[in-house]
């Protein structure tokens, strides 16, 4: 009885140690800035799907935002560099497409950061990031990056970009 209890405790401790290592890697990755929207980090975007650590090897799964996002290669490179810098010998960055990324995954903190950078975050309750009026006009569905549209405020007249709802 006692022996079972002790070995059970050991397993729990071992799992906690393993978990904490993976949590640490996850935090490290989530702090990496997005190359095109550097006010956001990978954590704000919800890109890190899975982290698996085994000895000196780490396998990371990420879900790309827009399929043609040119920042994806750069993100992969940053992830690799961060993990090699953290002492891992073997780093594998895998791309998973299912479930598909959506703007819903952008965290509340990420939305606040976008707004203060003058970019309207996604969602139905869209307001002008300059004057907070709820009168937004989309000028073009396609903007400076695949994830942004060109918009303007009907109230203050200022142009700005907004994150596309998709």
């Amino acid at each position: 009885m006692d022996a079972t209890h002790i070995s059970g405790t050991r397993v729990v401790i071992a799992l906690q140690a393993l978990g904490s290592r993976e949590t640490r890697v996850r935090r490290l990755l989530e702090a990496i800035p997005d190359p095109e929207l550097p006010m956001l980090d990978l954590g704000d975007l919800g890109l890190v799907r899975d982290v698996h650590v085994e000895d000196g090897a780490v396998e990371v799964s990420i879900t790309p935002t827009f399929l043609g996002c040119p920042a994806l290669d750069s993100m992969r490179r940053s992830i690799r560099e961060a993990l090699v810098g953290d002492g891992f010998d073997q780093v594998e960055v895998r791309t998973v497409y299912s479930p598909a990324w959506s703007v819903e995954w952008i965290s509340p903190a990420g939305r606040a950061k976008l707004r203060s950078a003058g970019i309207a975050p996604p969602g139905s309750a869209r307001v002008c990031p300059h004057c907070s009026a709820e009168a937004i006009r989309v000028v073009s569905e396609f903007g400076p990056t695949p994830c942004q549209a060109l918009s303007a405020c009907r109230a203050c007249g200022e142009p700005f970009t907004s994150i596309r709802d998709l």
Binding site: F66, L67, G68, T95, S102, F142
Partner: protein
């Protein structure tokens, strides 16, 4: 279906062929669309066409990478894109057609976008997890592309006499390529049996309904069915693909494996 009934060369790697053909559609169209960059009628449209080209390229990269993985012969997306000849490309004839005037480009985009909506909807629930995930994302992006092309077709069709006449002429020409996307072959039969992808022939009516709605809003006549062309899926292309590939591949052909 009975696999013995299908040509052996296609069914040696049906999942590879499936990913490859849809990757080829998107790659060739991305190349065509990127030719508009710096030549579009206005700045917003330039950004739009460049962005749409990028969406198609991103989808092509994911599909070709996957096609290479499931083939298991070590071919990368680059090798598949740059190392195959015209007869080895399996894209639709529609996407390789030249840009022509702006009406021709928008007509081609409308017909293709409406097809992509049906295609990715049919794949979103399939049993191949990688394709299903890509399909969900691709379907979202296709909705935006369709919104863009249908807006333009309506504007041009219901515009001036000149724009109306050009838009009609473009559709009349492009209509001959609209049967091909919905034709079945050994690969689609395999996908239906093994992955649960509904044969696209069943989606033809929905595609037509979608396109008809745009045409009537645009005051355009639906072209009458005349000669229909196909052959792209088995590598028999129009004369335009070879020229497109020559331009796209010349660097890798001249300096194989070049990187920078």
């Amino acid at each position: 279906m009975n696999p013995a009934a299908a040509p052996a060369e296609v069914l040696t790697a049906p999942l590879h062929s499936l990913a490859l053909r849809h990757g080829d559609d998107n790659l060739v169209l991305a190349q065509r669309l990127s030719m508009w960059v710096s030549r579009a009628p206005d700045l917003e449209e330039d950004l739009a066409l460049g962005n749409i080209a990028l969406d198609h390229l991103g989808l092509a990269r994911a599909l070709l990478t996957y096609a290479g993985e499931v083939e298991g012969a070590g071919r990368t997306e680059d090798q598949l894109a740059m190392g195959r000849t015209e007869r080895q490309f399996t894209n639709l004839l529609l996407v390789e057609q030249p840009n022509g005037d702006f009406a021709m480009t928008m007509g081609r985009q409308l017909l293709f976008d409406a097809y992509q909506l049906e295609l990715w909807d049919s794949m979103a629930g399939c049993s191949d997890e990688a394709l299903a995930g890509l399909a969900m994302r691709a379907s979202n992006e296709a909705r935006y592309h369709f919104l863009h092309s249908s807006t333009w077709v309506e504007r041009l069709g219901d515009g001036t006499e000149e724009s109306h006449q050009r838009m009609q002429a473009a559709l009349d020409w492009l209509w001959q390529f609209t049967d091909e996307p919905f034709e079945g072959d050994a690969v689609t039969a395999w996908a239906a049996a093994e992955l649960g992808v509904a044969p696209l022939g069943e989606h033809r009516d929905r595609w037509e309904f979608r396109v008809d709605k745009v045409l009537s809003k645009a005051r355009l006549d639906k072209p009458s069915s005349g000669n229909r062309r196909s052959g792209g899926r088995s590598g028999r292309h129009s004369e335009h693909l070879g020229h497109l590939l020559a331009e796209m591949q010349w660097m890798q052909r001249t300096y194989p494996g070049l990187e920078w």
